[in-house]
Assembly symmetry: C2
Homo-oligomer: 303 residues x 2
């Protein structure tokens, strides 16, 4: 069986002269859009599947973690069950199934996803219940991208923030390599619980699932394992309005030939929101994933 | 000044489990969409600008070669003039200008582009007139992607074919490394002069500029330098209908997170056209560039 470093695809560093000219900033993109299953989540999922002893892993995910875990479990010979709302896009349900997992569709008006996971855990007591972010195996898996970034010279690294799994991993990776870059988060303004948490000095949660276009950042709050790292390692979290997220998706398409999902474009959105903050500095933008529906993408390109 | 190998960005190899499952083929993509200026043409243009002694280079191009040459001339401190039809998209004109070249717009109803280039050559006798494909410096520049592909193990390599600069370069690169892969071309059915040439054993030209969606392959015929290499080094040229080119653009978007231009998608189009030809073999698809207008792309995604 492949080790984590053998299994993952190194991140794709992209520099675009057009993007540098347009922003007048020294930008390098670290794109996880070509990672296996199309997002950084495979780093987390594979590390989890490789290290937990349980023969069966159960998670709730309608997005990238579900696909990543399904594929990681296939590669490591584990059983995988993904709980998804029955309103999920058919293409996402099919993707999880095609990677070999069992999909449990729930009518979220009748039963919460977490409740269905709890039921399944009672039914399968040998299973491991996986969080997409609040898990040390997840953070460790994601730390590999921090190692890769640390091989290059940057003054600032910007990472998307949802549940905090990615930015905590990057913090860990940069730290253990002694890399001195300032680490900054990029979060949707409509889902700014992490920014509020950093200001309050403790975890602050959203009251309900935020309806930002950045669907990978619609989490209620940071995880406790994530918070412990973010609190110390993250200098600031920039709150990005949805319009700037969409501007960023378009700019990455037009100036860098990069297809990315709205959550992945948060980091360029942060630069558009606070350009002066990054002037004269060597900036690394982590673009976390590329899985976006064609119809959503068409609408963004047209706007 | 940077050498050619220092100046170019290595190609981006992408493997997508979803694309492999969908096609049931062992496909690896060699994407030039993140090459400087967004296409493989920068390899050719930089090698040309680096090696010709003339202080000024003139070319006719409404597409990727114009942008690539403009940027290469800026990097090598040469003057650059690009002749473009005045009907060219404003964004393409601006791109060439932003890379620092002089743009000469011509009304192609009044004067042919080649005639305007000839006028400029008389006006600037110290200039070098650059062909986008029929030039040994161009072929040599493109051969670097053949070297990169030759580092990996493939049974078949498929390359887009327009004027033949890319496939001739790949042939040269594979050959000098002793790589045994079969080299196959992918050409629009609507612009099938190269396929007809290979069948006839001599260069056959299109009578007028073919109106395929693959605008990088709207050349009238192969160049003579290109033909000399293609005749010996290319096993077959697959003729791809425009619908399959558009299918391929959509599949690369949906299954591989890759934004590419129609000409770049020719190689996946060839696989869709003749899947049995590639069954059980390790296939490398060269995706030559990513520069496509948002509106054209939106239309293709919607189809």
């Amino acid at each position: 069986m492949k080790t984590l470093l053998e299994a993952i695809r190194p991140t794709t560093f992209v520099e675009s002269e057009k993007l540098k000219t347009f922003t007048n900033l020294d930008i390098t993109i670290a794109a996880e859009t070509f990672q296996h299953t199309g997002s950084f989540k495979f780093r987390a999922a594979y590390n989890l599947a490789l290290n937990v002893k349980n023969p069966h892993i159960i998670t709730a995910s309608s997005g990238n973690f579900g696909q990543a875990l399904a594929y990681a479990c296939r590669l490591t010979g584990k059983r995988c069950t993904v709980v998804m709302p029955e309103t999920s896009a058919q293409v996402k349900i099919e993707a999880v199934k095609n990677y070999g997992a069992t999909v449990e569709l729930v009518d979220t008006k009748k039963i919460a996803r977490a409740e269905r996971v709890a039921q399944l855990m009672r039914e399968f007591p040998e299973a491991y219940q996986a969080s997409a972010y609040d898990d040390l195996f997840v953070i460790d898996g994601n730390s590999t991208i921090g190692d890769e970034i640390a091989e290059k010279s940057f003054d600032v690294v910007i990472s998307p923030v949802g549940g905090g799994g990615l930015i905590a991993g990057i913090s860990k990776g940069l730290c253990r390599n002694g890399h001195q870059a300032e680490l900054i988060g990029a979060e949707p303004l409509l889902a700014n619980d992490a920014a509020r948490s950093l200001r309050a000095g403790k975890i602050v949660a959203n009251e309900y699932e935020p309806q930002t276009i950045a669907d990978g950042a619609r989490t209620l709050s940071l995880g406790t394992h994530n918070w412990a790292i973010i609190e110390k390692g993250v200098a600031e979290i920039v709150e990005v309005p949805d319009e700037k997220i969409m501007d960023a998706v378009r700019l990455l398409f037009n100036l860098a030939n990069l297809k990315c999902e709205p959550t992945g474009a948060l980091t360029l959105g942060a630069v558009l929101e606070k350009p002066a903050r990054f002037s004269g500095r060597k900036v690394c933008l982590v673009v976390s994933g590329g899985n976006v529906d064609a119809e959503v993408y068409r609408r963004i390109l047209a706007a």
